[in-house]
């Protein structure tokens, strides 16, 4: 019950935040000198009728605050307008969001699977050569610009021919069997995931190491050791649980930085994700699409943090008290 009440409270708190986000984004877009209909007018497949509808939907001749309310109300109803390509914005977003989530979750999953043991290993071998090597390696991982790494991997893919060069699916994907489809997507995911994984792994490994080192210094761990418990019991039963708890908040952060960090990687690999969509929209000054994806990105980010907070609440009983 407590959890439900807490979740509800946090969700309600997120609403004014998102309204504020939308107001900020809306103001930025309005600062732009671009006529929101200019690109639509240039597309011959878009009829005059659609244009008129769009003009009404955006309420372009109204004052700023009315335009904003207009836009907000339409957004809530799911009416996001038309993209410059003539498709509905909502269909384009619906295509891309699952792809971005797929990439983000695969990366987070891989990062934790590898980062957790590496962090523990480094903490247990504190100041030994292994630890030093891991620290230097993680510095290297954090310093590689994602787009540069992506470029290098792309060259690797072209030279060896082991990996597809960009995209998410091969030609003729629709006719593949289910297993073939899954394998195909995995094959395409390997390189972009490697880029994002390398960059976020370094941060996670360091954080786990630092947390575990902190916990290992604490009194209750010393107490457990003094009781004569074996090293393994102390580390894995007592210390580790408490070291990982704060990491749950990191999940939210990680998701946020993946949303941002993935954009460049998606761009280089021509991966059909949300980040590339925003980029393309920005470059084509597709105002409707930019505004909608900015909002969706923010909603995903806020929800990521929200879920992380609630998870933390569940795993760490000490926080539940207040």
């Amino acid at each position: 019950m407590n959890i439900i009440a807490y979740s509800l409270k946090r969700t309600i708190e997120a609403i004014p935040l998102l309204i504020l986000v939308s107001l900020i984004s809306f103001s930025i877009i309005k600062l732009s000198p671009v006529d929101p209909l200019a690109e639509l007018k240039l597309n011959p497949t878009i009829t005059a009728q659609t244009l008129e509808l769009e003009k009404q939907r955006l309420g372009l001749d109204l004052p700023f605050y009315q335009q904003y309310i207009h836009w907000g109300w339409n957004f809530l109803k799911g009416n996001l307008g038309v993209s410059t390509s003539g498709e509905l914005v909502i269909t384009r977003l619906a295509e891309r969001i699952p792809n971005t989530l797929l990439l983000s979750f695969t990366t987070i999953f891989m990062t934790w699977i590898v980062g957790l043991p590496l962090g523990i290993y480094a903490a247990l071998n504190w100041r030994k050569p292994v630890d030093r090597v891991l620290t230097v390696l993680s510095s290297v991982g954090m310093a590689i610009p994602s787009f540069f790494f992506a470029l290098l991997l792309l060259v690797f893919a072209v030279k060896t021919g082991w990996f597809p060069v960009g995209g998410l699916t091969s030609v003729g994907f629709e006719n593949f069997s289910l297993i073939h489809k899954i394998l195909d997507v995995i094959h395409h995911l390997i390189l972009p995931t490697t880029v994002l994984f390398t960059i976020s792994l370094a941060g996670l490994q360091r954080q786990i190491r630092a947390n575990l080192l902190d916990v290992l210094e604490s009194d209750y761990v010393k107490m457990a050791k003094a009781k004569g418990l074996s090293e393994n019991t102390v580390v894995y039963k007592h210390a580790l649980r408490n070291a990982i708890n704060p990491m749950v908040t990191l999940l939210g952060f990680e998701f946020a930085s993946l949303l941002s960090g993935a954009a460049l990687t998606e761009y280089v690999f021509q991966y059909p994700g949300l980040g590339r969509l925003v980029l393309e929209a920005v470059m084509k000054s597709d105002i409707n699409l930019v505004m909608a994806s900015l909002m969706i990105g923010s909603i995903m980010l806020v929800m990521g943090n929200l879920i992380a907070d609630i998870l933390l609440h569940i795993v760490d009983p000490r926080i539940g008290g207040n």
Binding site: L31, A143, D214, S260, G297
Partner: protein
């Protein structure tokens, strides 16, 4: 108190070989961009359209009859290979062009104001030397790396000088006054943080009107980078201010009758300084990466001005990288600069942040 920190900082830095290497590399990079027009044989706009994508010049020190010689190079001639349908470069071995050090070349202004025309190295008149090859417009890659570094390595610092004071003041005011002010100010900061930062970055950059001069563009990009960074920082400062403002010395200065602004800027914010120093050093790499990412997409620094990010733009086509690997050099430089900043920043944090002392 400060002297103590400083001397232990220097002592620790001296002991740590990895950090020393980082500092050494950064020193070289910054010296190189400071003296860029002197070290670079060409200006950043010098171009030889006949030699687009020329490979790095070959410099010889041994002649064809196996005798030692002053370093010299040959000119490239462009040839169309009808079999492979591609342009190939061959050395024109008929005339040697000697490499001369400290020779007169193109005019430039050292540090922006000292007129000068001596270059570190030049070749005999009529010859050309491109030690790291050329780009699509036949511009010298090596020279452009130096000039590009001037932008890539300084824009982060400039953005920090805007975003950190703003963040400190914002966090200071919010934490000091508390109540409704705090609530409103923090909600605004959180809203900024809730927009995925890279989306915000590209959208702000795209809003910039076209046709700005390169100085204007540089200033605007700096401003945008600063705008992205201040909110998260302000939140941390606010948290620190909340606990600092309860201390007695704040009470004391208030009882003397000091104004709020004075208390915040003179008494409270200086207490956050060691955190600020750590945060600054750890933030520089992020700004360098953000600028290069933006320019890589074509939204940041624009041609003909060089920046490491926009130079990498040409490497976006993998055909280019496969046959012209020298186009990747800006990427390695970004990597090296960011890595060095990270290594130095980590050490400074370990020293100034007592909580992490146990960890290194």
């Amino acid at each position: 108190m400060f002297e103590k920190v400083d001397s232990s900082l220097i002592k620790r830095l001296k002991k740590d070989k990895v950090t020393l290497t980082g500092i050494f590399i950064l020193a070289i990079l910054y010296l190189a961009i400071l003296f860029a027009p002197f070290i670079a044989p060409y200006s950043q706009t010098y171009s030889d359209r006949e030699l687009s994508y020329a490979p790095p010049s070959k410099v010889f020190t041994v002649t064809s009859d196996y005798k030692l010689s002053r370093p010299y190079t040959y000119k490239y001639i462009r040839e169309f290979n009808p079999k492979t349908y591609s342009i190939e470069y061959k050395l024109d071995r008929t005339k040697k062009y000697y490499v001369n050090f400290f020779q007169k070349g193109e005019d430039y202004k050292l540090f922006g104001f000292i007129p000068c025309n001596i270059h570190l190295f030049e070749v005999d008149k009529g010859g050309e030397i491109f030690i790291l090859g050329t780009d699509i417009n036949g511009r010298d890659n090596f020279s452009r790396l130096l000039f590009g570094g001037q932008i890539s390595l300084t824009i982060g610092f400039l953005a920090l000088f805007i975003s950190f004071p703003i963040g400190m003041l914002y966090g200071g005011i919010s934490g000091y006054f508390g109540g409704v002010t705090d609530m409103l100010m923090m909600r605004f900061a959180e809203a900024i943080m809730s927009i995925p930062s890279f989306y915000l970055l590209i959208i702000l950059a795209a809003v910039l009107p076209s046709g700005m001069s390169s100085v204007q563009r540089f200033t605007m990009i700096t401003g945008i980078l600063a705008f992205i960074g201040w909110a998260g920082f302000a939140r941390v400062i606010r948290g620190m201010v909340l606990s600092i403002k309860e201390q007695e010395f704040v009470e004391a200065s208030r009882s003397i009758g000091a104004g709020s602004f004075r208390i915040i800027t003179k008494h409270i914010l200086p207490q956050t300084l060691s955190y600020v120093i750590v945060a600054v050093t750890l933030s520089v790499p992020g700004y360098i990466l953000a600028e290069s990412g933006l320019s890589f997409l074509g939204l940041g620094i624009q041609q003909p001005d060089a920046s490491w990010g926009n130079m990498l733009k040409e490497a976006q086509e993998y055909i280019n990288i496969l046959s012209r690997p020298w186009l990747l050099t800006p990427g390695f430089l970004i990597f090296i600069a960011v890595l060095s900043f990270n290594l130095v920043g980590d050490t400074i944090r370990d020293i100034l942040d007592p909580k992490s002392k146990a960890r290194q």
